[in-house]
């Protein structure tokens, strides 16, 4: 089974993780237009490549960021969400 390096727990089997989807900026729901909100909900870039995604280690309930090649199925980098705060909410 594939191993993912969790920033908190070290290498753990894939079955202990769940993918939370691509890391994206949420517009302010009170300020943005309906169109912007719909785009936030439904617009996806699903071409193959390297993506930043939210992943969760289920047993410890720990969310972190993974950089993953969606064509080769390879995890390139995993790190704590604190490392990107400031760059994205």
């Amino acid at each position: 089974m594939k191993l993912i390096t969790c920033p908190l727990n070290g290498p753990r089997p894939l079955l202990e993780f769940v993918c939370g989807g691509e890391l994206r900026d949420m517009p302010d729901p009170d300020l943005c237009s309906d169109g912007e909100w719909a785009a936030y909900l439904f617009k996806r870039d699903s071409t193959p490549g390297v993506k930043r995604e939210w992943w969760c280690h289920i047993p410890s309930g720990y969310w972190f960021i993974a950089e993953r090649d969606t064509a080769a199925d390879v995890f390139l980098k995993t790190y704590d969400a604190a490392d990107i705060r400031g760059a994205a909410p």
């Binding site: 769940v18 309906d34 617009k43 699903s46 071409t47 193959p48 969606t70 199925d73």
Partner: protein, 413 residues
Amino acid sequence: MPHRLLRFAFARRHPEPRMFREPARLRDGYEVVIIGGGGHGLAAAYYLARDHGIRDIAVLEKGYLGGGNTARNTTIIRSNYLTPEGVQFYDASMKLWQELSTELDFNLFFSTRGHLTLAHSDADLRTARWRAEVNKHFGVRSEVVDAAFVKKLVPQIDIACGGHTPIVGALYHAPGAIARHDAVAWGYARGADRQGVEIHQGVEVLGLDVRDGAMAGVRTSRGDIKTKKVLCAVAGSTPRILRMIGLASPLAIHPLQAMVTEPLKPWLDPIIVSSSLHAYVSQSARGELVMGASLDPYELHSTRSTLEFAEGLAVHMLDLFPFLADVKVNRQWAGMADMTPDFAPIMGTTPCDGFFLDAGWGTYGFKATPICGKTMSHTVATGSNHPLITGFSLGRFARLELTGEKGAAAVGH
């Protein structure tokens, strides 16, 4: 007939009849270019030629004909969906399926088996009743049955499922069927070819030319083509084509895996689906058990298979049929499914004039092949969406008008 057979046997030459021509080169222009030589693209080409008299068509296939999701699905055909849009659409497809072998003069091994969606809980039964009522309203044969009915239809099933998820009833859909998937692609290909459609295999689309918001041409690995109409029917590769013209979509690509066992004597007549156990199974014409489960849990542009999938599926299959424990798995494979948030497809016109989309077919595209061909050919020929597909437009997401089909379209919910 035996006479002809005898003559053929003694003949010196046994020419292998080809299913379709292989044109040497692409021409400079076509009236319609169809990207994707799978069931959907070929069916659209066939009906464009037959119903709309458009024969100047090139079907471009990057790999080989019918080698994508047409070859990778589990061949189940049914119309017991949940939304009025879905039920009417798939019912129209079912009616085409029932005549398709005759229509194409090609044996598709279309086999009506009956389709059981097992219920293991009150929640399952509630969804079953909901679906049955919507189905009946539109004249589709569906009924809620009890566990004894299931046991009578499939004596080999363990109704108690090992004791932890007993079967309490099912949604029974008598018209449920299976067919030989490769033959569907070949049948439509031959039918289209005979009417003058050109089928080009091994041709990759590299770019699309748009001028003043309208389709102008297609750039391919074998040269450029001028065309004003392009139909895109490429399943898991759809986002790559959409990127060429700057169109956004909500599609997410996930692998969908399946596997078959070694051939067994015929014992399983109906198609068995269990949402709670995330598993479904049918027995093919050559005796193999064709089995599938839910999507892989994360985005991936690959057709690799995994041991986790085989193990997970086998565990649930043994809950239903413990006696299969010694049966070997022969093959396992995956296809790239293009999933939408509401589990309904994306079909019809797009903001780019002359670019038509047949996508978002996720885990349910095979059964829709004939009706997709029919409705998309109408849409391409007339430039406006066929009435059956207005609920599946790309624009529905921006309007927040989703067509929620998840309860009936997937096993993993």
